[in-house]
Amino acid sequence: MSVTQLFALALSAILAENFVLVKFLGICPFLGVSKKTDTAVGMGLAVTFVMGLGSMFTWVVNTFLLVPLGLQYMQTVSYILVIAALVQVVEMFLRRALPALYSALGIYLPLITTNCAVLGVALLNTQKHFNFVLSAAYGVLAGLGFTLAIVLFSTIRERLEFSKPPKAFEGFPIALVTAGLLAMAFMGFSGLKVW
């Protein structure tokens, strides 16, 4: 895979088709963990790690197990089981190696299993017929796009804490409107291509 192809893929996954702000994948943790920037960074990197590894494992399962046996309809079930197992392993690893991050992420760590972005990237890899290297790369790059979006959003939300929106908008609604404006900004990247 050439550097140009990788760069084009990166531009697409991180900016032009950002997973959170354009493709709507990974919204729940995006809205849930973005109150503080350091948790957001930790969450983003954990999700990137799971997305990269998840892409690799699901590609292997699909290519060597599902396709040869003609079991493509089992993709959803097998992918989600692979991801669940992976998140369990990551959780155990973090509890031993990085206990501070583990306690900061709290309940949101097992919730990476239900993160649409992780399953979404696995399904998109299959849909686009990516090979192993492209799948892994796309998984990591999409995760980086997610991290970018969640970190940007958390910096804005930290400032929002000090503002006074109308009472009905307090909490989630103003966060959603802010996310919408961020998504509008990212619309400027659409069509960004490396020829």
Binding site: A16, M74, V77, G191
Partner: protein, 193 residues
């Protein structure tokens, strides 16, 4: 100090039970899914085939046109089929992708025996709603009919990238057909590949 570790046998039995239950649930689910898959797969396959036939018929005019696949260079070209009507070669239908504004656009291009376009149909795209999608209308696409390789085409104002992508796709289809005919092509008398 209480609590000695449970014997290995009990732990194994405990984890064994967990694995067995999970396996049992997965097995029953897999059976159920296999059943539904068996019931639906023929219909899904025939629907996909119908869609393809409809797309090809849309770009290749004729009453009883029969299509059959010919070898092609995989890459941007996804499929190439030769079209016969009553044993006479009508032309070719090429399904290919071209890079548009928001990603690859899938086109179906009909080319007749004289390397002129018979029709263009957009099958799939990711273009900007209301802007790039303006290219996907029959008035604009029918302007491609009768066109041969190399002649320019108008673009839809405000959707230049998408229009150029369609133009590139049509040119690539004409090129693919020309290459096929150079390398032997189909003889008009025979009705088979």
């Amino acid at each position: 100090m209480s609590g000695k570790k449970p014997p290995l046998r009990d732990s194994l039995r405990f984890y064994g039970k967990l694995v067995l239950i999970l396996f049992g649930i997965t097995a029953v689910s897999a059976l159920l899914m296999a059943l539904v898959n068996g019931l639906t797969q023929d219909r899904i396959a025939s629907l996909a085939e119908d869609r393809r036939q409809a797309a090809m018929s849309a770009v290749m005019p004729g009453e009883n046109v029969i299509f059959s696949q010919v070898p092609f260079d995989p890459g941007t070209v996804l499929d190439m089929q030769v079209a016969y009507e009553g044993g006479i070669l009508r032309g070719y239908c090429v399904q290919l992708t071209a890079d548009g504004f928001g990603g690859p656009i899938t086109l179906m291009v009909g080319v007749d025996g004289g390397s002129k376009v018979t029709g263009v149909k957009i099958l799939d795209h990711n273009e900007t709603a209301g802007v790039g999608t303006r290219v996907d209308n029959s008035a604009y696409l029918s302007a491609y009919r009768g066109r041969s390789a190399g002649s320019g085409a108008d673009a839809v104002s405000g959707a230049t990238v998408t229009s150029r992508a369609v133009e590139r796709g049509v040119d690539a289809a004409l090129e693919a057909v020309a290459r096929f005919e150079r390398e032997g092509g189909m003889s008009v008398e025979e009705g088979e590949v």
